[in-house]
């Protein structure tokens, strides 16, 4: 299964290895791990003590599968794995994992970054940060919309 939405953590090394196991053509795996930062509330602000990921069950998996399908249509890929955690996570914990196997590195890098850029703006997850001053919903970043624009211009 190429896409998982789960509360549980995952084994990055095992996931990367599984993506190319037994595939003689696989020469490259690009991957990404996103982590909970604890310094996210502006200068002098309270530190983040935990983060809760809310999602839209059902749509989430479908959105991620759509993104993977788009990536497979643009590049020559041998394997793709996307894992996104939901629920309450502590600073330093893994949130998201994307890995892409390909014959050559440029396809693997491009597809991995494309999937992350699309996931950031198209997959229905929302982050709520716990701080000593209470919970706050993370604002969407303008830079994430801009990152998506890059891929659309290249289409």
């Amino acid at each position: 299964m190429s896409v998982s939405v789960q509360q549980a953590d995952f084994d990055v090394g095992a996931e990367i290895a599984a993506l190319t196991a037994g595939d003689a053509q696989a020469g490259a795996v690009a991957s990404f791990v996103g982590l909970v930062r604890s310094d996210k509330v502006g200068a002098g602000g309270p530190a983040v003590q935990a983060m809760t990921l809310e999602h839209y069950p059902g749509m989430t998996e479908q959105a991620l599968e759509d993104i993977v399908t788009q990536a497979r249509g643009r590049w020559d890929l041998l394997g793709v794995r996307v894992i996104h955690r939901v629920g309450r996570l502590l600073p330093g914990e893994r949130i998201v994992f994307v890995a892409v196997a390909s014959g050559h590195r440029h396809d693997a890098f491009a597809a991995c970054e494309f999937i992350m850029d699309y996931l950031k703006t198209q997959a229905p997850f929302w982050k709520n940060e716990e701080t000593p001053a209470g919970g706050r919903w993370v604002d969407a970043r303008e830079s994430d919309a801009a990152a998506l624009g890059r891929w659309r211009r290249e289409e």
Partner: protein, 82 residues
């Protein structure tokens, strides 16, 4: 039809969703949003949330997208996963 609310919008409305019949004269996601906001009070969050997004049957769409009875419609703020 089923209408769902997520994240800060869910909190503002105090509801994660509701079952309802498609209101008379409502044919688009935008018209449904305006119909719900017309309830006033907390429901104004539907027109006051910056860059509100919506989905029909679990696909993100614009506010000109058609809605029909039996659809699952969701409203939510911009996503922040990853």
């Amino acid at each position: 039809m089923k209408v769902l609310y997520f994240a800060s919008l869910r909190e503002a409305l105090g509801a994660s969703g509701e079952e309802m019949a498609l209101p008379d004269g409502v044919g688009s996601t935008g018209a449904l949003r305006d119909h719900l906001a017309a309830r006033g009070g907390a429901w104004l969050a539907l027109t006051q949330t910056k860059n509100l997004r919506c989905a029909v049957n679990q696909r993100m769409v614009g506010f000109d997208a058609a809605v029909a009875d039996g659809d699952e419609v969701a409203f939510f703020p911009p996503v922040t996963g990853g």
